[in-house]
């Protein structure tokens, strides 16, 4: 069992503990009933995604300053994990909205700005996928990663700046009863650990992929792809 498999097992175990608290310990909400239990992972994945995008911003700034390949790899890894976590936030949010608002989607400021965040970082991933590998693409992606982070505070404050359907911040306003708050905090810590493990695995993948690419002899590759010359008659 490798270090990464052990870390994954620990993360899965912690998520099971969080699941136990969500379904067995946390009390049912008086108004929203069962669907309110979606809240715990929906908000936790959003916070973990914000943390990933903060890592992308810092790593991007370090890359622009030092051109460190390690910073670039961290940014690539954290972007992918951030996009996956934002996808979970959006899907869970839509399934939370249907029983509460009666519709899967509203063009509310919080929902729209979160969708924009997802699109920005999908753009980053597309840029890395379609751009020529090298310094120019890495620098351009770092700029996208830094400026893309501007949307994170917009997502966070959207419920305060533009009053829409999405509820305001319930954690900082101390609106949760102690059992719900405890369940939320444990879920958030477990999700952050899971996100950290995911970034570590992706970072290792990026490192190995770079090593395999650098190790490949371009002349040998060219020879291998060319047809065998026909024997002289």
């Amino acid at each position: 069992m490798t270090r990464y498999t052990r870390l994954t097992a620990a993360a899965v175990l912690l998520m099971l503990v969080a699941g136990g608290l969500i379904f067995l310990y946390a009390p049912e909400d008086y108004l929203q009933k069962e669907p309110q239990r979606i809240f715990y992972l929906h908000v936790s994945t959003a916070i973990a995604a914000f943390a990933c995008f903060a890592v992308v911003m810092v790593a991007g700034a370090i890359y622009l300053r030092t051109e460190s390949a390690r910073a670039d790899r961290i940014a690539r890894a954290a972007t992918l994990v951030g996009v996956v976590l934002t996808s979970v936030t959006l899907v869970m949010g839509m399934l939370y909205a249907k029983p509460i608002w009666g519709t899967f989607w509203l063009w509310d400021a919080r929902l729209t700005s979160t969708l924009v965040l997802w699109i920005i970082y999908m753009g980053y991933l597309l840029l890395r996928r379609l751009g020529e590998p090298g310094r120019q693409t890495a620098r351009f992606a770092a700029v996208v990663g830094i400026f893309g982070f501007v949307d994170v505070p917009i997502v966070y404050f959207s419920v305060t700046w533009w009053r829409g359907h999405h509820p305001g911040p319930v954690i900082v306003s101390n609106a949760l009863p102690p059992e719900m708050l405890f369940t939320f905090l444990v879920t958030m810590v477990c999700t952050l650990f899971l996100a950290g493990v995911m970034v570590a695995i992706r970072y290792r993948i990026e490192t190995l992929a770079d090593a395999v690419e650098e190790g490949a002899d371009p002349v040998a590759q060219l020879v291998a792809t060319q047809r065998e010359p026909e024997p002289a008659r």
């Binding site: 239990r37 979606i38 992972l41 869970m92 899971l194 993948i205 395999v212």
Partner: protein, 37 residues
């Protein structure tokens, strides 16, 4: 209740699938890298 179940099933599928694929890719690359040494 159905939305709660579907929401958590979707989350498990997305996160679990991502972890599963990542660990598979990692294993493949580690085999490739060790074969090059």
């Amino acid at each position: 209740m159905i939305y709660l179940v579907v929401a958590y099933a979707a989350a498990v599928l997305i996160l679990g699938g991502f972890l599963w694929l990542s660990l598979g890719t990692l294993r493949e690359l580690e085999t490739k890298a060790s074969a090059k040494k």
